[in-house]
Symmetry: C2
Subunit: 422 residues, 2 copies
Amino acid sequence: MLTQPLLYSLQVLALCTYPELLESDGFPEDAKCKARSIMKQLDNGSVGSYSVAYITQHVPQRIASFIQRRDGAIPSDPRNIIVCSGATQGILTIISLVTNTEEPLRTGIMISVPRYSVYMDAIVLSGAVPVDYPLDEENEWALNVQSMRESLYIARKHCNPKVLCVINPGNPTGQVQSRECIEEVIRLAAEEKLLIFADEVYQENIFAPGSTFHSFKKVLFEMGPQFSKKVQLVSIHSVSKGFHGECGFRAGFLEFVNIDPSVFEVLYLLKSFSVPPVPGVIALDVTIDPPQPGDTSYDTFIAEKQKALSNLGEKARLAEMLLNQVPGIQCNPIQGALHFFPRIHIPDKAVRLAKAKGQEPDVFFCHSLLEETGIILVPGSDFGQVQGTYHIRITIINPIEELENILNNIIGFYRKFVQEYS
Amino acid sequence: MLTQPLLYSLQVLALCTYPELLESDGFPEDAKCKARSIMKQLDNGSVGSYSVAYITQHVPQRIASFIQRRDGAIPSDPRNIIVCSGATQGILTIISLVTNTEEPLRTGIMISVPRYSVYMDAIVLSGAVPVDYPLDEENEWALNVQSMRESLYIARKHCNPKVLCVINPGNPTGQVQSRECIEEVIRLAAEEKLLIFADEVYQENIFAPGSTFHSFKKVLFEMGPQFSKKVQLVSIHSVSKGFHGECGFRAGFLEFVNIDPSVFEVLYLLKSFSVPPVPGVIALDVTIDPPQPGDTSYDTFIAEKQKALSNLGEKARLAEMLLNQVPGIQCNPIQGALHFFPRIHIPDKAVRLAKAKGQEPDVFFCHSLLEETGIILVPGSDFGQVQGTYHIRITIINPIEELENILNNIIGFYRKFVQEYS
């Protein structure tokens, strides 16, 4: 388990669910106050009602304030914010919306290699074409505009690339992109008229010392009006992916920049198939409007947050340290998010054996690991990887003792595997 | 508001959300017991976790028991049950799944006129073709197999009808179909090789004396193995649409009969874009596994249920009585669900005026009503209606005094409208 769910969040949700609890002594005053203000905005004060105004007006107003606090003085307009049923649904909706299956040249969606696997499913389901661009593994998984440009130009021969998807902090790679990288990507998008889809669901999970999250929106506006008035941007965040990791609630939001309001009409139709669940939207509401200094729950909230992030940081350092000691394994710094993607050298003999079995070599490695140790890892090929390189995806969700144990087992098995096939 | 949400349901959800409440005296023992058993099945005991086993295994087992209790001795297999994020999502998923946009002849989806409007959106979005069949308004909105057959034969000239959608109890029409009608529909589906999609989300909202809900599954199995081993059936139910009407939770389920297991693999991919929210699944769990005789909460639960249903019944009788007194308005018996669809005669002069304005006559009526009285009604044309007939959709959700007032205002306006245009 990542960490305990945030106490304040559960308290507010329990109060809204069963309002008789507002009379109980067992809840802090600020949680009661937040619950009362939410219930005033719910239809009939009930978590079981549709509550369209709460979802489409009240919560977007608070999200706009959250974004403004996050990005400094840059304005955010609630009318450009849509609450969705979690990030996956948001990704699918946007990719469906931009994909035109009736044009002679198919819609291209640029997506990193490696990437969160839902992107490929969404692209294929929508009838678009994936346009892969590699992250720069030698450079801590940085975005590399030169590679992006090369992929783009090749792709234009057979499809019409419209959208550039960027995942920051990285999934499954765990890096946090620098401000410079983001600026370059925005310049590329401006030149090449690409819509940027910024998957920023891990924006609150930054734990490496010196790493800072820069939102695409912030960088875009700091680059001045020649960019901020022109480049189309859709950014996504989710309640599933904060440091608290409440993935069962299914709520998130999209912010749109420079998108024509007429798009919202079509979006509304698509979205009508996925009305966000009210308890999830309440969890989102609490996430983007947490206790403030002076509130009863503030100290607890900050302590929980710091504990969650420092745990993640500690696990990240442990994983890097253990793996980078092993000849044949290279692990980039893990700066944020919840996963990492170390590269493993697979001996030629194992590569040949895997291919003879009709398997990818990393899949063969993961199957062998499972048979020998009982550990299930997702092979790199599920996320995409540069040809001839092999990876495994590991999460830092487990408690540290468990993670250490898992890593030691993987390392032990890897050493034996290399020996066996050398 | 339809009714108060069910106390027991909110208690269980609050307990699961904030487990410290299990120590409190403010909750009945059976709610605590149900909450404890649910929490054992949630990942980390937390409502904020994905909880795949809870959603895909534990709850389907209890749904199968619910279906068996509902249908008598007919078996239900949890492996054929999928929990979804509400009925709308379920409808879209199934219609997408059966629609093949690459066949030369487009996929046809048979759907009643009138029908819940989401069906048309789902059909158009999926790239299928709607094949309308009229309900028999002269016969209390009964399913009429003769009309279905005529629509089907005409449609086969230009598309490939694969699915027959039936909404029972009716939305927006409020009728409950007889066992005989359902049998005839099943015979038709068997002869014509159509998959039946039975929208049974209002199955628990039956309030007219003498009306009984017959599930398609039950009737199918009672017709013997020559039908029950052959006819493909997908039935949908939702936590939104019980007598408690908890539409903000977004959870429901689909039961599949005679569907090849390989379909589930594709379904799993589509479904992965719409992971059901855990709080909603808990609400569903409680709905299909309510307090039983002898449990602490049983008497309260039964009293709430009976009150909700008798309120609906009272409002239905009032609406029929008031509207059927008015020359030019005909209202069929309202037997279940939450809406009704009275027919209104619109004078020729008004029909001509509306057409000159480029409006449907019922839209013109509803606009005039809104301007004069402030009452918003959805015009019949939004749901489909037989050409030359006009309807309005009214809900029985408002409290009875409010409904009476609304109906009297509609009637007063209708009389003036008829006078003005005669």
